[in-house]
Symmetry: C2
Subunit: 221 residues, 2 copies
């Protein structure tokens, strides 16, 4: 492969979700290049006529079953040695999706190797500088969780306050007082109560949805 006279541009996406009480990231298996066979973040080269975010969505669609998810730019990695063969500047994105539930494998079934959700606490060695990308993505999400309404991207359907709190706890890595959490969250006016309830082997819980599904900055915690 020839070395271009100027850096090439790529995008990489760290798609995060909370599943079974743990933060997970979506990994794909690299099929070619210097890291063939390694686990990596989905991503690829940016084309001539598309925006960076469009490139991220296109690569996600090609390598996974994810469509229309929440994306935000994270950081641009441009160390000359980050790709041992080419000079590639990579614009990293964070993706956030609701709990995939039992669909733990996102797979397009053909051209690309299967994508897999992996808990961030036990990641395999990653290609390129993708370990650093994941670390930065986690710390960014942790921070933004506290001063924005970002969680809404992880909870599309009606949810109980306990479920909401559990997402905060999984990402922040610490437990929160249930009573204080409920009071604080409700006082922000971000939630709207739905008249249905969720039943279990115990008292039914009230369900809520987010009033607005647009990014907004609010002091949540």
């Amino acid at each position: 492969m020839s070395v271009p006279a100027a850096p090439a541009v790529a995008v990489d996406v760290a798609v995060l979700t909370v599943h079974a009480g743990a933060l997970h990231v979506l990994l794909v298996q690299a099929r070619g290049g210097p890291f063939a066979g390694w686990w990596a973040l989905p991503g690829g080269r940016v084309r001539e006529a598309e925006s960076l975010e469009d490139a991220a969505r296109r690569e996600l669609a090609a390598q996974t079953t994810l469509r229309g998810i929440h994306l935000e730019q994270l950081f641009t990695f441009g160390q000359p040695e980050r790709d041992p063969h080419d000079r590639v500047v990579s614009v990293a994105y964070i993706g956030l999706v609701p709990d995939p539930g039992s669909e733990l494998i996102a797979d397009t079934g053909g051209k690309y190797a299967a994508a897999r959700w992996r808990p961030v606490s036990r990641l395999p060695a990653l290609a390129y500088d993708h370990a650093a990308v994941v670390r930065l993505a986690i710390s960014r999400v942790r921070a933004k969780l506290q001063y924005t309404n970002l969680v809404y991207t992880l909870l599309p359907r009606p949810f109980t306050l306990t479920e909401l709190q559990s997402i905060y706890e999984s990402i922040l890595g610490r437990s929160l007082d249930r009573r204080n959490f409920r009071r604080k969250i409700l006082s922000l006016g971000l939630l709207r109560s739905v008249d249905r309830t969720r039943r279990g082997s115990h008292r039914p819980a009230a369900l809520y949805v987010f009033r607005s599904r647009r990014p907004r900055t609010v002091a949540v915690l």
Copy 2:
């Protein structure tokens, strides 16, 4: 000029400072390209073997007298239409420097047209999407001022608490209570008192310096 098959990579730097109680940004006059004659942020193409930050420093050195300043990555702008001729993805950086005082013009005197400090409240039309870059830079600095010790980049020499407060007020665009500001700032332990004082037509003021000149996150305000 031929359109390359893939996006090119550039860096642009919004260098900010506080001068005479107002936030200023450093502009240069574009000499060629689609925006010849327009005011723009200093910047240029990234070369094969340099990191993004190195490219930013190299371009700053070529177009201004600034060396060794505080730089941090802001955002990467990659809309296909942001440059009407080429497809250029631009990694924008924020630069922060102390008050240049009477040296209101940074000039290398040769290859490039003079660089000038302009108050951000009265900017001329800017080339490319540089107006958006400046807006984003300002809002980022405003935010980071409140939860980091970022100000130290604007005050290299001993300063009075009033000078420090005035910088906060200029950037935040609101006035702060002098007594509360002093108490809060001193309680953080970021400052070290120097035994000298600054004299004027009034009571001499104690001088301080920052204990550490490394980025750190602290709730300042």
